[in-house]
């Protein structure tokens, strides 16, 4: 047993003790992400917009710059930026929110389609239309939302919503981003 004790001690001291140094605060929005955005990477432009919106990665919240960068990313065709702009407008300017959700949906964004489903399915936005909400639920192929919206509609309305969804998907298939 006397021989085993040093082994126990050695195991405990050398096996698991770890030393960790805290990293420097993230400043990607001034460093790496900014560099990629300058090089024309649209995802990086959106990440920079996110950093400005949240006040992260070396920045403090700056809604004006966030808007400018989201617009820049949308003009470059970034669907996530379109959804971000739509969500920012939701409840304040629902016409604008709808416009950006539609553009994102046309680009094949599931979030854009889900935004439209919510816009028409939720009475708080003042434009509730269950047939349209069901159409977007079909586009999304979400069993939960299809059931939730369909139960308040007749068979003909359900069939029409399905037909419109199929028509949409034939023109604007969903994509994985």
């Amino acid at each position: 047993m006397r021989r085993r004790l040093p082994v126990f001690l050695l195991l405990s001291l050398t096996g698991c003790v770890s030393v960790r140094q805290l990293p420097l605060p993230n400043n990607d929005a001034i460093g790496g992400t900014y560099e990629r955005a300058r090089a024309g990477d649209r995802a990086a432009v959106r990440q920079l917009a996110d950093a400005n919106a949240r006040g992260s990665n070396g920045l403090k919240a700056n809604d004006l710059e966030a808007q400018r960068l989201y617009l820049q990313a949308t003009e470059a065709g970034d669907p996530a930026a379109m959804v971000a702009l739509a969500r920012e407008k939701l409840g304040k300017d629902n016409d604008d929110a709808e416009y950006w959700f539609v553009r994102a949906a046309r680009a094949g964004s599931r979030s854009g389609v889900d935004g439209l489903r919510g816009l028409y399915g939720d009475f708080r936005y003042g434009r509730q239309s269950l047939p349209l909400a069901l159409k977007w639920a079909y586009v999304l192929n979400s069993r939960y939302w299809i059931d939730a919206h369909a139960k308040n509609l007749g068979p003909e309305q359900q069939a029409e919503a399905r037909r419109q969804a199929d028509d949409w998907l034939s023109r604007y298939p969903l994509k994985t981003y």
Binding site: S12, L22, N27, G58, E65
Partner: protein, 229 residues
Amino acid sequence: MPPTLNVVRTEARLGRGALLALGLLAIMGLGCATVTLQPPEDARAKTLFLPAAEKGDAVAQFRMGQSYRYGSSGVAADWSEARRWFFLAAEKGYKDARFALGQMYLAGGPNLSADGTQAVLWLSRGAEQGSASDRLWLAQLLATGRPPVLAPDAEAARRWYERAASESPVARRELGRFWEKGEGGAVDNEKALTWYLLADSATDAARVGARLRPAQVARARKAAEEWRP
């Protein structure tokens, strides 16, 4: 008494299994400690950006400005320094610095009074050399204003929307809204329809088209077909 003898006696009292359990506990309890050290000194602004900034590199000057503006990369927030670096880069024509300077004047902050005129000056310079989305952004800002520093200016907003319209469907749609609502000028639903058609905004076009006579709709469609940026 040496500690090893304690172990031997403990083995005698508790048995081998109990001692093994004690040993495992020792490994888990003593061995898995993590020693956390503070981060190294943050000198990124001084080592990565400052040398190039001092040589006149506009991008590095902009980064120095951002670091001082937000107090990051190892420097404390200092708006006077931020303004100085942004100004150097902006004078060289660096777009992002022009926007940053304009936004600082718009917001106002420590050692920098808010100044709507300076803000619009620098933001306009940024938009002049920027893309259609930059011009669109400025138009939206001018349309809504930023009280109390910047009052809404529909006429200026319309001019910037027109300058963005050639490349931006959003700007074309906004021009439709301006004509529909008479912002920055008279109401003209025919022109509104033209812009909505150019923006490919079917919902808006249907709404305005329903208010017009067929001849007006036809004229609006013709104008949209003939429109050249």
